[in-house]
Each structure stands twice: as C-alpha cells, then as structure tokens.
Symmetry: C2
Subunit: 520 residues, 2 copies
C-alpha cells in the first residue's frame, strides 16, 4: 500500500448479512479504507465490532417512508459517479463528498418473492436504491470504480487490492459488465412475473409430459406468429408452432409472385409447389408430393382460399376424407369458411401478409446445454446469375427454374437433405440423414414408391438439390441412375471433379451454388 | 374530473425533446396536473410556453458533476415510492414532498452509443437517474403510480385520464411490466457491449454465409459445454456445438454405470452402444452402427481413453484411416493423447463429469418467427416397471434390456424416428421422417445394407423402438417382416389393437411406454 495516497472509500450495502461480509470488511478496514455503509449493514458490522460510517451522516437525510428511500441521495451518487477530473474532484471537496472507489451492493432477492407468487412481496422486494448504486458504479468503471454485485467476487477483489493496490481496468470492466448482467436477469424475472399474460401456456411441450409455453416477442414482423388470426379450430400445439414456422419459411422463400403451397410434417415438407393457379398448386403439393405423409400436416398457401379449393382440401380425388391439422392463408372466402367450419378441430390461421411473404431477418438461435447458439437468419437467395455450370451439358431454361426451386425446397428440409423436383413441384425428399448417400437413396426410394400409377423403373426425369456438397460421387450416381437430369449443389468437395466426371459421362448437367444450406 | 380531489402531480424527464411531448404536457396542464420536470425538460417546455416546476425547487439541490446526478434525490424518490398509507402520506406532507401519480421518463438512448462502438460514448449514455425513477414508479404501480417509459403510450394514457380520471390497476401493471422489459433490454445491450468476450464469435453459423456466436449461460451444470476443456484441435464450429449437445444428451441418458459410446452426425446418432468394456463399446458403436455415416462425426464416451482405444479410433480393422471431428471423454491417458495429437485438427474435449453424466434439467427453448417456444427438458426415464406388455408373447429379459436401450436411442433421434437395437447397440435408425412407415422402412433398409458380411435376407433378430405411436400396422409389419422380435412404442393410437393383433399373429412381443418422445 502506498501510504502517501489519501484514504480510499468503500461503500457497502448488503441484504444478506453473514460472516463472509464481516471478514472482508475487516480486511478492508485493515487495508485503510473508510467504510461507509447503509443503516442495516452498519448495524450488523457494528455488532461484529467493525466501525463504519453510516451514510446518513453523509446525506444528512434519514431513511424515509419505511426505508423505501435510503441511498437515493445526490451525495452518494455523486461520490459514485464523479469522474477523475479536476472539476469533479473539486466539486466533491466543496460538497464534502467522498469519492467511492469500491462499491459493494447485495440487492434484495426479488426471486424469493417471485417463488412465493405473492405480488405484494415481489413489489416490496424490488430493489431501487441498490440497482441505482450498482449501475452508477458500473457506469464509472473507467474512472476507477470497482463494483461488486456478487459477494463471491469479494475474495479475489480484496486479494487484488492487497497485492496490487487495486483492481485493474480490464477486471473493473468485467465487474461492471456483471452488474448489467445481474440487472437484466433481475428485471427480466420481474417483467415475466408482472406480465403473466405474456408467456402463453401451451397444452404441453413437444411431448405431453413436458410443460410448454410460447412467448411472443415485441417485433413488428408482419409474419410473426402472433400476427396470424386464428379464426377456428383447436388451440395450437407446441409442434404446430414448429411446423407453422417451417411453412412460413417455405412460403417466404418463394414470395408472392406466383401461387404457392407447402405441406409440412415434423418440420419437413411432404409437398411444396409453385404453379399458375392456386387450385393446381395445392393439388400438386398434395398428390405429386407425399400424400400419405401429408396426413395430419400443416398446409400453407400464399393465395386466398375459395370454395372450390376448400372442397379439394377436404375430400380427395377418390372421395377419401383428407385430414390436416393447420391451414395458413392470407384470406378466405365466406363459402370456403363455411365448408372448413365443418371440421371444428381444424386450425385455420389468416394473415394477409402471406400474400407477399418475406423472409425473416431476425437472428436465429438454438439452446444447447450451457448456453445459446446465435446466428444470422439464412436469407441468402440463389438466383440464376449465382449458378456456375460445371458440366459439359448445360441445364435447359426449364431445368434452371426447377433447380432454383429444388434449392429452395432443400433449404427448407432438415440436414442432410436431398430434394427431387419436377415442374416446380417437390416430388420426394431424403431429409435429416446422417450421410448424403442415404439422403439420395431415400429421395429416390420415395419418388419410386410414390409413382404409384407408373412403373417403378420409369426414369424420374426430375432435377435434384443437395444442401451441402457431395463428398463422393456415390450419391449422385444413385440420383442419375434413377433418371435425375440436372443437379444443384454447393460444390467445394476435394472430390468435386469425380462427381463432375460422372455427370459428364452420364450426360447430365450440374450447377454449383457456392453456398451451403444446412438447417438442423 | 373530480374537482374536489387535490391537484395531481406529474413528473416528466425526457431525453428526446419533441413536439409530441409538448402537446401532451399541454393536455396534462389542462387536466389540472402540477408538472414537475428535470432541468432540460423544464427549459424545453418553457420555450413552448408550458410552465413547469423545476425539480431543483423540490430538492434544493442543483445538478452536480456535469449533470451526472440530477434526479437521484430522496425527495423525488419518496414522491414516487410512497404508498397510499396514512403514515406515508403524513411523512410526505411533513417533508413537503408531492406524491407523483404520473411519471413520464424517456431514458438516454444508450443504443446510439453502442452503434457508434465508442466506449466513452456508451458510458456517458448509460442512464442512472431515469431508470431509477422508472423502476421506482413501476414498483409502486399498485399504489396508483402510472409510469410511462415509452412516449408512444402517452396518447392512450392521457386519453384514459381525460375520460376515466385515470389509468386502471391492470393497465398500470402492464405499464410497470413494460418498464422492466425496457430495462432488461437496456442493460442487456450494455452487458453485451461491455463483455465482448461473452458472446463468442464462431467462425460462422450453420452455413458460412451466416454469422454465428455462442453465448454461455451462467449456470453451474457440470456438463455445460463451457465446462469442457478443449485440449487440442480446431476451434469448435456452430454445427460441432449442436452435435456435442446431442452426444451429451445421449450419454446423460445412460449414465455412468457401464461404458457407453455414442457417435453423432447432423444431430442424429450413427452409433450408440453400452457394453462391459470401453474398447468393445467403441467398436460396437462404430462398426455395428453405420461406419460410413460415422465418418466426420462427434464421438462421446463416458470412460477414460487409453492408448489402445486411441489406436482403434485412428486406424480401422482394415488398416483404413478413420476420420472424426470431435472427441468427448471424461479423461485421457498421456499415451492416448500423444497418439491423438497426430491429428492436429481433431477437437478433443475433456470433462470429468462425463464419467457419470446426468440429464440437464434446464428449460429448453426454440426460436420461431415471432417469439420463443419454451418447454421443460425431457428428463422422463422409462424403466422396466413403466412398461406395459400388450402382446401374448412377453419379451425376454435380454429383450427388455434392449427395448429400454432402444427407447433411449430413439429419444435421441430427430422425430419421426424408429431405432433398431441388438445387444445394447444401435444397429440402424430411420430418423427425421415425415411419416412413421418411412422411418421403419429406412431403419430396415439401413440395417440390411449394413449387414455387409451376412446375407441381406438374414432376419435382423433385433428389437425396435418408435418415438410415437404407430397410427397403422403398416410400419410394424415392415419391422416384423425384417426379423424384429420385440417392439417398444408409446401406444395410444385408435388402431392400437390392429397393431397388437399383427404382433400376436406374427408371434412377437410389444410393450407400451405410455410416453412419447418427440425431439424435433
């Protein structure tokens, strides 16, 4: 310790009084600090034979209205907030205000009130003075303020003071950041408690034994789920929300220029199509996709539903009853609504923004054990000009349109994924696989199985998309042998040339996007 | 307005001065409020011909240290915080403090500083007095305080005062909640800015064109990713984090009693096994699972890695080079480490808690467009006593062990999923499918393809698990025809009896868990 320095000042205000704080206060006393403390803390330390200066002596103001206002005084806050400038120092001297170098505050445990569920208790436990001192001290870290909001930090902080004479700038910054982190948790818990209506309780989570909630954010995205108007049907389930999100993602990729329809099951598409008329596009998505898997799915459209379309949705080509759980559309005719109302459980959600759906630009995140993974939304759109043809054979104009659509479809699928597209319609997909060859195999198997009318050996005559590069030509070989005529993929494998050679040998075309589209 | 009532008091402190506040102040003046305002606001309103009471008159204390302390005064905070009790009212009268009924504060736009990236500017813009008044007023909403932290609310608030004489309790509560929501966003932005090191920038997100970050939480879960010690290899990627999370989930389900190994690719298992020795369990997970898909995966173990095991991991049975991206283990021998160090990109992560891994009890959440879906963790464990045998044939003791393990394996798989297990080892899985029949088909196809040595028509002689009920007997038929001898599934379909009849006819056993295990 440099004894020529003026005495340093410490401010202590502790809610949870215990021996730990006593021992640190003793150390600080020994290290030559003037210790100022709020009334309760002063009393407690005095009982433990540590003399401190009651801040009332500084403020000349007694605690009022049942101690609801104790530390909210300009002399205290000036002592915390003053900068290391001559002007400020002079002002403090004139007003006889100590400059606080070390601020230790343990705020009221509002969580105890929240656990009790009692509003009065929560409100009583909302600390105002403590957070004010903490935030002020944190704001001033670059002027020498050391702020401790977690008594567990006292041990190393006091150690630093003893050994190095103080806590360095970098460490003070960390302590300051910790204050704002504490405050955000604190105020977030209060906000959640006060707005019970915000987190909506769902029937359950992904499974009946898990509780589930939906918390709408306050963003103004017109396609946010809370901006859909549910006009009929059962309450949305946790898994409905997930599938609706996937359906909106699908439609936002194709926009509003042409009628589009997507059908989602377990977050993956069973059908996806873009056509000239809304009736055709629905028929393609349902029948040219996987009508078996579509059973119980979420259907999303970017055009109004008329009576004719509603009929198609309820009764199939062979007069069979068609069942689906959720319907999303920009609007719906009265007559169509009358028809759909006969299915009283069917959830119908209307949002005019579906007419011209745009991708979300909000940041995406995923929970893992220990924290959160954040990432930018995948708003990257691949257009014709981004494609690099790598084979001798060039794709036709029609194939290019299908390749671009197949890319949108594969972006929608869970990785690893391969999608097969024909006439702007998804005819099969191999999704969520552990390896790419398997995705190819599954996509082809499904397309074959689904071509019920035709022979299983008829060439598919489709295009294919892969969400990441092919590490080997084994996957493409399966696709080509089944009759795939053009492939879109990112490219970038060390073995790209082998795959290109295969395509050249088989006389099909391949284009690279130079962009991957994993979606887990 | 009830003219017999005493004049009400309003406190205004506005950072962004504009005409909007002028018009509202005029209205409040007309409605008979005494308007107190902080110096800058008072000046601005005066320019616009509205006389207000400068709070300095109330406090008798001038703004000090460059206005860093203006409103932090006990008289102001007592006026905000006093309850509607006789004692408090008396105290206010004695101290000549007005009781503030309406508190309007527009805090400093710290976001402007954050956008600029300039630390000094951020610190200067951290508001202390404003938040203190807002939080105090919010705390006191049930004593008549109406708090406005967003000037856009002034329109309806002033309207209510004019029409109903005030804002009702429910609305005041909403305004209070809004304060804490604002503060959590405010302090969260500051915390993030001050702790650049907290959100760790990743090389990129799921795809190279998306930025990615990992933000560790502050929980003390020993298996939180930040409690793993990376002792060698490249930086973890976004997708590594996801796969590590799945690997830890897998191991936490089987615990530490017996050696266990899991291999993850794209969040799904390619291998998963529990055996008596760690070398055997690794060999089973790799070779009896899907060794092709395991290429480039994440391997997790619940036992220490010795030299012998390390050798097995690097070089295969046929002397082939085996490649994997991440290795997780509770510990590692020196000799093993020396061997693994020859693969300098290989990420090796050590965490002693893997010796006896426990499930996470933290709440899970998923981002969707418009908000967040929360749910309890799926910590439900199915034991033998939870099983209900529904077939004439009862599973053998060995089959029960395999069925319970198949259930753990299918819980790990992305839905829809079917897992095939033999001798406590996952031999194939059909994951992430849009329909259950397809999952059965894929699982069988993979198991067939993988039985390279044996004939493709050899009965699998395994057990199977399905993560949700079979809606029809078509899926089980595929499994049974391939040689599956026992099936575990939740049960609960209206057609359960058809599936049970099929099992009885084919002479296999089936058990119900009564619990679903979707994982999307």
């Amino acid at each position: 310790m440099d004894n020529t320095k003026p005495k340093r000042n410490c401010l202590i205000s502790i809610y949870s009084k215990n021996k730990r704080i006593v021992s640190f206060a003793k150390q600080l006393d020994r290290l030559g600090f003037n210790i100022y403390s709020s009334e309760g803390t002063a009393k407690y330390l005095k009982q433990n034979k540590i003399e401190t200066i009651n801040i009332q002596k500084l403020t000349g103001f007694p605690p009022i209205i049942d101690h609801r206002v104790v530390t909210l005084h300009p002399k205290i806050h000036a002592g915390i907030l003053a900068k290391n400038t001559k002007d400020h120092e002079k002002e403090l001297r004139q007003l006889k205000i100590p400059k606080f170098n070390l601020i230790i505050v343990d705020i009221y445990p509002v969580w105890d009130g929240i656990k009790s569920g009692n509003l009065e208790k929560v409100l009583d436990l909302i600390d105002i003075g403590g957070p004010s001192m903490l935030r002020a001290a944190a704001k001033n870290f670059n002027n020498g303020s050391t702020v401790v909001c977690d008594v567990r930090d006292l041990s190393w902080v006091v150690d630093r003071i003893e050994k190095n004479g103080g806590v360095n700038l970098e460490e003070r910054k960390k302590l300051a950041a910790k204050v704002f982190k504490l405050m955000l948790r604190y105020d977030s818990a209060i906000a959640e408690f006060l707005s019970e209506d915000k987190k909506q309780k769902l029937r359950y989570g992904e499974n009946p034994h898990q509780k589930g909630w939906f918390e709408p954010d306050s963003n103004i995205d017109p396609l946010a789920i809370q901006n859909f108007n549910q006009i009929q049907g059962k309450e949305l389930s946790f898994n409905n929300y997930l599938d609706i999100d996937a359906a909106v993602f699908a439609l936002s990729q194709v926009g509003g220029k042409k009628p589009a329809c997507v059908i989602i099951k377990h977050t993956n598409p069973t059908g996806f199509s873009v056509k000239e008329s809304i009736e055709n596009v629905y028929e393609s998505a349902w029948y040219e996709g996987d009508p078996l898997a579509a059973f119980g799915g979420v259907i999303g459209l970017n055009r109004s539903i008329n009576e004719n379309l509603a009929k198609q949705m309820l009764v199939g080509k062979n007069k069979e009853r068609k069942f689906f759980e959720v319907l999303l559309a920009p609007s719906i005719d009265k007559d169509a609504l009358k028809l759909l109302a006969t299915r009283k459980y069917l959830r119908v959600l209307i949002n005019p923004a579906l007419k011209n759906p745009k991708p979300s630009i909000n940041r995406d995140f995923k929970k893992i054990r220990g924290g959160i993974l954040y990432q930018d939304s995948d708003v990257n759109e691949i257009r014709e000009k981004n494609l690099k043809v790598v084979t001798k054979k060039k794709p036709t104009k029609k194939q290019i349109k299908d390749l671009l659509f197949a890319w949108k479809a594969v972006k929608l699928c869970k990785s690893n994924a391969v999608s097969l597209v024909k006439n702007q319609t998804l005819i099969a997909s191999g999704v969520g696989q552990q390896d790419r060859k398997e995705s190819c195999k599954i996509a082809v198997m499904k397309a074959r199985d689904l071509s019920r009318g035709k022979s299983k050996s008829t060439p598919l005559d489709s295009v294919a998309a892969s969400d990441a590069f092919f590490p080997f030509p084994d996957g493409p070989r399966i696709l080509i042998d089944a009759g795939v005529k053009a492939i879109i993929q990112p490219g970038g494998s060390v073995r790209d040339q082998e795959t290109i050679n295969l395509c050249n040998k088989k006389g099909i075309s391949m284009v690279f996007t130079s962009t991957r589209s994993f979606r887990h």
